[in-house]
Symmetry: C2
Subunit: 382 residues, 2 copies
């Protein structure tokens, strides 16, 4: 009878009220009703991104928004640097590899955040730098990169270089603010901390990036950001939008602002700390050190045998879905998402299951230990 | 209290059961559960397209699928012919214009279907023809082009040229069958006769087109059809799919096959005839002659004053949404959609409203006249 508890780092649970919002009934997107909805969404979306500029909303998954950022902001022959610290950095590199850019890969050990001073040294000698791409949270390792520091390094090196951030698994959970952090282009998707089903993607830009978009000579249509920003001037979309997801977007933005952005970030940080303290009490290893850890996802390390056993038990006997490792980390970690429509009680649910699984597996008594550590962490912070 | 009756040629009404299907709860797309859903959808989607090949499902609006067909099936320097008979043909031409193709436009008078014999003459002298693009139904005029005949003309002229059809406002309403009609690539979207909200698009190809896709050297990522067809071999998607829309897609395909494809086409044809006979009884003009008319949408002509009055009255006093004309036809027509989750009773609703509007406007008694003509048409056909 129990519903699956979806603790993967995307997709994430969607609230019942949001499903209802998405079931209100479809209507035409070339109408004043749609314009009013789109304008209302902009008012609530911009503070979330930390910008006063319109945010382009694409009907597609996050990958297309990453590709759009790349193709609209980089010209053939330009140098781009891609910070690769896991699978999603690799995806950025794959996309870049399809184009005629000079692609420079800055490799970061998986499980670590990029070090701004080491990155400053790396940049030296890269000519004609157009843009630096990074993830905010590298979902495959659960690291959160120091965006404001990296941005400063990029702009110190070349003032007009663009700092472009993929925040698909961070925005709405981690405290990211375009203007404050001097991010030139911030990209995200609907299905993670934004609490929606997949199907929408977002591209926010500052004046510098918008200027580049308007000067770009790429030959795109669906991913032509010029058309999106031009349509936004009159609250329209150039292509047919996923109207039901817009209705849902309006609802989740209300939820976020009702809770307040500040409190949303505190809740995510609280869940992260509860989980980390609980994991330690269970004598499991955390892949990422405290200061590099994302508030939206946590990677847990153990022997391949324990990892396989834990994942299998969670899914089959406790109705809890988590994610495994990818590529180099396959079989070595489990990843527990704690972003979006998730709450401290959900951390208790998984820690309770892990206590039981490990007590049996190791023939050792963990009952109450992880829960107590989590509980202490939560109320200590309050 | 009355809900709006959405008689636009897209978006179209979504059934309550489909909203429920889309509210079942989100789940991961890298799971066996998703693979099973995707495989099940393929089994039901292929007969609708009239193919034994997998049909690529893109998370995006129809335009991206049109662009994908173009960029994956045409190489730089190739000649393409685009049949332009309205706004959506023009959109195809706009997309093609972004690429390094030799673009040839075959203009058809708006409101008429392409004439296969005239098109045969036009093709003479076009060298290096790679592909011919056409709409099935040109939504802006309500014409249905003779696909099987046009296909024969294309393949007679050059056997390996591709015949590529945009069936966004036709598939699921008009009797189109890739294999029977010798269509090499058939593109559609979710939000018209497919009875879903916008957000999914479809690309079906035969062996010849798939071969071309696999040899293509374009530099795309999100619109790389190779990746979609390769993923389909194991029932996956290369990018994050719009899972809730997949759940809805599964439901509407069940609805279509429960009714049977044959009966779905009969229902659409019946609605078209009811409407056309009713429109004639109201002494309004039909833009398109009987043999060129699409079973999914009908364009009605009158003086600009009457058109404006009718559209305004329908929307404001009868809770019925219809579409106006676009570009050259702006202000000259209204377009009434009758595709997807629509039924003969919906034709009675709009004809009843039109009888009232025109009786008052023209000070003439139309009461019962359009309804009787529609009713006679419906039961004559049964």
């Amino acid at each position: 009878m129990q519903e699956e508890l979806l603790l993967t780092p995307g997709p994430t649970p969607v609230a019942r009220r949001t499903y209802q919002a998405m079931s209100q009934g479809i209507f035409g997107h070339r109408t004043n009703r749609f314009k009013a909805l789109s304008a209302d969404i902009q008012n609530k979306l911009q503070p979330l991104f930390g910008t006063d500029h319109p945010v382009a909303v694409l009907t597609s998954s996050g990958t297309s928004a990453l590709e759009a950022a790349m193709v609209n902001l980089v010209d053939d022959g330009d140098s781009v640097v891609i910070i690769v610290s896991g699978v999603f950095g690799g995806k950025f590199a794959d996309i870049a590899g399809r184009y005629n850019f000079k692609v420079h890969i800055y490799d970061v050990t998986w499980g670590q955040a990029a070090d701004p001073e080491a990155f400053r040294e790396y940049l030296n000698g890269i000519d004609n730098l157009a843009a630096v791409f990074t993830q905010a949270c590298e979902t495959s390792t659960s690291v959160l990169h120091p965006l404001a520091e990296l941005s400063k390094v990029v702009h110190d090196y070349k003032e007009d270089a663009l700092f472009i951030v993929d925040a698909v698994s961070a925005l709405g959970g981690a405290d990211i603010h375009m203007d404050r952090d001097k991010i030139d282009c911030l990209v995200s998707g609907s299905q993670k901390a934004m609490m929606l089903p997949p199907g929408l993607a977002f591209v926010a830009v500052n004046d510098k990036a918008l200027g580049k978009i308007n000067r770009s000579a790429h030959g795109r249509y669906y991913l032509d950001l010029k058309m999106y920003f031009k349509s936004l001037e009159v609250d329209y979309t150039p292509q047919t939008p996923a109207v039901t997801l817009y209705q849902g977007l309006d609802d989740v933005l209300n939820m976020i602002h009702d809770e307040t952005l500040e409190q949303v970030y505190v809740r995510h940080k609280n869940m992260q700390k509860m989980l980390r303290r609980g994991i330690e009490a269970l004598e499991l290893e955390l892949l990422v050190k405290e200061e590099d850890a994302s508030p939206t996802v946590t990677a847990v390390k153990s022997s391949p045998e324990e990892i396989a056993h834990i994942k299998d038990e969670l899914e089959n006997n406790y109705h809890i879905a988590v994610a495994g490792g990818q590529k180099d980390l396959a079989g070595k970690i489990i990843r527990i998402g704690h972003m979006g429509f998730m709450f401290p009680k959900d951390m208790l649910a998984i820690l309770s299951a892990l206590e039981d699984i490990l007590s049996r597996l190791r023939n050792k008594n963990y009952y109450g230990k992880a829960l107590t550590a989590a509980q202490e962490s939560l109320y200590e912070q309050a």
